[in-house]
């Protein structure tokens, strides 16, 4: 009987070998070869030119992850303390935007942040821009040199890119943390209180350590897509804030066709993700039960 059931695994193992393992092997081969498939290490050394892309990607992704954590943790914590009816509605409200494609939501931000977009129009209407100009003129050392602003530059800045990441990936931070906190054993909290802990101590010594697996899984789920995004940086960053994802996309479907370099960058990215995972698993004790829903 056992052998019969294990037979079900065979087709899937073949499938995995074909579409998961072999593609990665092909990518690995591409990353160490030239266009004529001669062995080379050039693709990796050439990456030295793109150090600034790497650092920018990591900086922005780390900032976005931190902001998500700062908003997401309190949010998840407060949600878990509400009644079950409220929780259900709140959960649904957080999931809901995910069923609209993330490009739609990002696109909406474009019309908000444009130089002539909703926010700038609002600022002009309430006189904020005039106010800034008046103050600027008064403070300027040489008033004749002062160039008045007509708008606040928001689109095309790295702030806009971070905003886009936070906006799109915030649910990925809230959900795992929430699902861990909501399952916390309440008798533990009561025990801590009975033993004389203040609320702050309960949070710091009991809730926080116990919710760490959720935090770790949230951090990974926000960091990985952030560091590899290409649509968000393109739409909100105006194409001048190139990130790793853009760099890879350029090599395959964009203006600079070089799949070998693209494969090499992808390999590096894969290694980074694996390292992240290993570190996370080391802290989070294996089980990935906190993954959504």
């Amino acid at each position: 009987m056992k052998s019969k059931l294990s037979g079900f695994a065979v087709p899937y193992v073949v499938w995995m070998a074909l579409v998961v393992v072999i593609p990665i092997l092909i990518m690995a081969v591409y990353s160490v070869t030239t266009a004529d498939f001669d062995l080379t290490g050039d693709n990796f050394t050439r990456m030295g030119d793109y150090v600034s892309v790497f650092t920018r990607s990591f900086n922005l992704a780390i900032i976005a992850t931190l902001v998500c954590l700062l908003i997401g943790y309190p949010m998840a914590y407060l949600m878990a303390k509400e009644g079950p009816g409220f929780q259900r509605v709140a959960m649904a409200l957080i999931m809901l935007p995910m069923w609209m494609n993330f490009l739609l939501r990002t696109y909406s931000w474009m019309s908000i942040l444009e130089n002539n977009g909703l926010l700038n129009r609002l600022f002009a209407r309430i006189g904020l821009i005039d106010l800034v100009n008046t103050i600027g003129l008064a403070l300027a050392a040489d008033p004749s040199q002062y160039v008045p602003i007509t708008h606040f530059q928001m689109i095309g800045t790295s702030g806009a890119v971070v905003l886009g990441m936070v906006y799109n990936y915030l649910p990925f931070m809230i959900l795992p943390i929430y699902s861990v906190i909501v399952k916390l054993d309440h008798s533990l909290l009561e025990a801590a209180r009975d033993l004389g802990s203040s609320n702050v101590t309960v949070f710091r010594r009991v809730i926080l350590p116990l919710s760490l697996p959720g935090v770790l899984s949230g951090v990974t789920m926000v960091f990985v897509p952030s560091v590899s995004t290409f649509a968000i940086s393109r739409l909100l960053g105006g194409g001048t804030h190139m990130m790793l994802g853009d760099l890879i996309e350029q090599q395959f479907l964009g203006g600079a066709y070089d799949p070998h370099l693209g494969a090499a960058i992808s390999m590096v990215m894969m290694v980074i993700v694996v390292v992240c995972m290993v570190v996370m698993n080391h802290f989070g004790e294996g089980e990935e039960q906190a993954v959504m829903l």
């Binding site: 600034s52 993330f102 560091v227 894969m270």
Partner: protein, 665 residues
């Protein structure tokens, strides 16, 4: 005190929800806008909803999205469930290492999965080509197609790649919780293993299967990156269509479709929530002692009825989707690739009506992007419309098919000055489509005087207000012209100097961004002061500019590039005769006139070019402004200042590519 904290926490949650929903709300509000703007309200209208149902591109991509999500969810759920059961009957060691492999597509960044699959498919297509060539050689009963491209099948496979792991991940814990002896007990009591599976295992793991299927569906709907790398050019999910549109003008139909999607999901969630709440209440009641066992049966009957209903609904949806797809597919097809805003789409309808050939009209962003798509097996094209220098490169690499000009009688109407140009000296491969010049587009309200020189592009006075054209050939070509060099120089120093000029301006923050077709919405909405783009597109921007914008166009004194875009056919296309019919139609005087009036690019058709002012006057009952005509069809004294691009040697192409990519970093 407690109450105060409660309001505080509610306030914070309210803020987060406002942040999450404000942009969505805006999308919804502006879907009812009478005007085309996403920022200025022109009054209430349902116009865009009506338009939506006539927009073939959006409707088809919605259909593709739903079909691929539903199909991949169903297949992934079945395969995933069986695979999970299979994996759980393996030895622990083997199982855990296989589960690690299973986790790879979930762990990896989407782009890495997408790229690896893209390379895998490209390698497979190459292998297939070799096989098909050999196979067609040894027998002639069956003719295998030589050229395979990315499409719906590869898209579906890609979705399965990331969906199955989610199903397994959700089913596995339920299997772990299940008592292993149950199955043995069932068999001891005389069940076959199939019965044991149906009656024992399945009910135990059902919650896992359901949540797995739900997550798989969510992932499919939300995916963009993996689809983008594996769907190719002809198949497009809604996300890909939107991404394509964000590059030029996003029509408010997108707002309308998002609103519809949002409302659908909202209703589904509400129904589900109400049902869950009711269930919970029922469960609470059920914990009270139940007098008789009779109602239990009725509940069960009711459940199975409901399950049947859900199954039937799913089946009906699937059949409907497939039928819808089937009805829109006819036998003769031609896949056309061109640029954004580069055809009067009514011409496609006219052509389809007259010939019965279905046109798959696709757009690429730039010559370089189209080339990349072709090389990675993603470009499912028959007819392409590249520019001069790219045509030369494609001919050089033996990628174009020779045309049979007997099938294209309208070629005779093409002006002699557009035939036998350097990119195709014997004119064996191409039929010119449109021509024009590159110049400066500027907003008169933001710039005091007409810029005479390209120098305004690199001037700190315009910091943050200049848009850099997002392709290396044009961006460096302009810089080369400004420095007084030829656009076709192969002197590396000159190219490096041009690059330095652009790079310096970029590091000083002169450029607001790198754009191709995004230039439309940027300039029309008054979001930038200066851009470089093509003359025809300037005229179509003037048509659409907001009332507080006043655009002008100039070909600077240093000179510029003049270009010809020509239609050509890719080698090994299975639709050669359809392709030639399309080319012949587009070269006709009638089509050229209509097209000129819509895209504002000059046609190489001599008759059309001469007749256009009269055509315009008849149509609009006012004479055509000579200035407009001269911007469209640049007069000789402007063309004298301009150079045509020629194909650069590979060494210089690599230099362009390497320099260009360092620009953004």
């Amino acid at each position: 005190m407690k109450k105060q904290r409660r309001t505080g926490s509610r306030l914070l949650m309210g803020l987060v929800f406002t942040f999450l929903y404000a942009p969505i709300l805006l999308l919804i509000i502006f879907s009812f806008n009478a005007g085309e703007s996403n920022t200025v309200w022109h009054g209430f209208s349902l116009h865009w909803y009506r338009e939506l149902f006539h927009n073939r591109i959006i409707m088809e991509s919605v259909y593709t999205t739903l079909l691929v999500s539903v199909l991949s969810t169903i297949i992934a759920t079945v395969i995933g469930t069986f695979a999970a059961i299979g994996l759980y009957s393996l030895r622990r060691r083997l199982r855990s290492s296989l589960l690690t492999v299973n986790n790879i597509p979930m762990m990896n960044a989407d782009i890495v999965t997408g790229v690896s699959l893209c390379l895998f498919f490209a390698a497979f297509f190459q292998g297939w080509r070799a096989f098909a060539r050999w196979f067609n050689g040894v027998q002639d009963v069956l003719e295998l197609p030589l050229r395979l491209t990315l499409g719906f099948t590869t898209l579906l496979i890609a979705h399965l790649v990331f969906n199955i792991p989610y199903v397994i991940l959700n089913v596995a814990p339920k299997l772990r919780q299940m008592d292993k002896n149950l199955v043995d007990a069932a068999q001891d009591l005389g069940c076959t293993w199939m019965q044991a599976f149906r009656k024992v295992i399945l009910p135990e793991i059902k919650p896992g299967i359901v949540s797995g299927a739900l997550i798989a569906f969510t992932m499919s709907i939300d995916d963009f990156v993996i689809s983008y790398f594996t769907a190719g050019s002809a198949t497009s999910t809604l996300a890909m269509t939107i991404y394509g549109m964000t590059k030029k003008r996003i029509t408010p139909e997108i707002n309308a479709i998002s609103t519809l999607l949002f409302v659908t999901v909202l209703v589904l969630l509400l129904v589900n929530n109400v049902r869950e709440a009711r269930q919970e209440r029922q469960d609470q009641r059920r914990t009270a002692p139940r007098p008789a066992s009779a109602p239990v049966k009725s509940v069960r009957n009711h459940r199975s009825l409901k399950r049947f209903g859900a199954l039937a609904a799913a089946a009906a949806l699937l059949v409907g989707l497939v039928a819808l797809g089937g009805s829109t597919r006819s036998q003769r097809v031609v896949n056309v690739c061109s640029w954004g805003e580069y055809i009067d789409t009514e011409l496609i309808d006219i052509f389809e009506e007259r010939t019965g050939i279905r046109v798959n009209y696709q757009t690429a962003e730039s010559n370089e992007a189209m080339y990349s798509l072709l090389m990675s097996g993603g470009g499912d094209y028959d007819v392409i419309t590249p520019s001069d220098y790219m045509i030369a490169q494609l001919i050089e690499e033996d990628m174009l098919a020779e045309l049979n000009y007997d099938n294209i009688p309208n070629f005779a109407k093409i002006g002699e000055q557009f035939k036998n140009l350097p990119y195709d000296p014997e004119n064996k491969y191409t039929v010119p489509y449109a021509w024009g010049t590159v110049g400066i587009i500027y907003d008169r309200n933001k710039l005091a005087e007409e810029p005479a020189s390209w120098s305004v592009l690199y001037d700190d006075a315009n910091a943050g207000d200049v848009l850099l054209i997002n392709n290396s050939r044009d961006a460096y070509g302009i810089a080369l012209k400004h420095l007084g060099y030829s656009v076709n120089t192969i002197n590396e120093d000159e190219i490096r100097k041009a690059h330095q000029l652009v790079a310096d301006a970029m590091s000083r923050g002169v450029f607001q961004g790198k754009v191709m077709d995004e230039v439309f919405q940027k300039m029309e909405g008054g979001n930038a002061a200066i851009a470089t783009y093509y003359a025809g597109d300037y005229l179509s921007m003037v048509d659409n500019q907001a009332d507080y914008v006043d655009l002008g166009f100039v070909v600077p004194e240093e000179g510029s590039n003049w270009f010809v875009d020509a239609m050509c056919v890719l080698k090994d296309t299975p639709h050669m005769s359809e392709a030639e019919e399309w080319i012949n139609f587009m070269a006709s005087t009638e089509a050229s006139l209509r097209n000129m009036d819509y895209i504002w690019y000059a046609s190489p058709n001599t008759e059309a070019l001469e007749q256009y002012p009269t055509y315009y006057e008849e149509l609009y009952e006012e004479p055509l402004d000579q200035e407009v005509y001269e911007i469209m069809a640049a007069p000789a004294e402007v063309l004298e200042r301009c150079e045509m691009y020629v194909s650069l040697p590979p060494r210089i192409r690599t230099l362009y590519k390497d320099l260009w990519i360092t620009l953004g970093i």
